[in-house]
């Protein structure tokens, strides 16, 4: 793992999330992920840099996005999950579903 390596993924789509993600955000979050998947990118990067909160309902939307991606052959990756958002994704096994 110390030898440097480089992977370039062209034509990715980035979904940049900011704010609190709970049941109120679920439908819009799902819509954003599905829109990104539908644009048929090489992969979807879900960027949580601006996300301060994430609950099980919002994770439901995330998993729906992941499922849609699997059907379309589009991998989804989670980046920049920090603090409580990272713990929630990790403890629930969702991080592994995405980046595993």
């Amino acid at each position: 793992m110390t030898q440097p390596s480089y992977q370039i993924v062209r034509e990715a789509a980035v979904v940049r999330l900011s704010g609190d993600f709970d049941i109120n955000a679920r439908d819009e979050m799902r819509a954003a992920l599905l829109e990104a998947v539908r644009s048929a990118p090489a992969e979807v990067v879900v960027d949580f840099a601006g996300a301060a909160f994430l609950d099980s309902e919002a994770m439901g939307a995330l998993i729906e996005g992941l499922n849609a991606g699997r059907e379309a052959g589009v991998p989804l990756r989670i980046v920049n999950a920090r603090g409580i958002v990272h713990r929630v994704l990790d403890v629930s096994g969702v991080l592994e579903l995405f980046n595993g």
């Binding site: 609190d20 109120n24 609950d55 929630v88 403890v91």
Partner: protein
Amino acid sequence: MPFLSAQSPPAMTPQHEWVLDSPVQLRSLRASLHEAITGQPLPAGAELDEIPEKVVLVATELATNALRHGLPPTIVRLGRHDNVFVLDVADHSPDVVPRYADDRPPGAGGLGLHLAKQFALDLGWYIEDDTKHVWAEFPVPS
């Protein structure tokens, strides 16, 4: 683990109470809960910062369940008993009980109580008259 144990309530005097009728109130519940906890006389420290976040997450999970699966109003209470924070979320559907989802496919929900279980010290529920209470305990770091 399909069922949460139906345990007797932890002794506590509620110090804060919030009444919710709609999920849009969850956001202000979180802000207000966070303030209530960090406003307590607590020792400083890194580990401590995780407690308010855990309480806020579990409160969101339990209140969402009460709003979705129970009847309004949803009443959220926070109290403290010795070195333990007690969170109690009440709804008015004593006939439907919380249970851990066991075999749902990913995306079909059922993560909430599992998450709450992981973030709380202890989790349980009980019925009192026409009210169902789901409660969670958290350590107050010393």
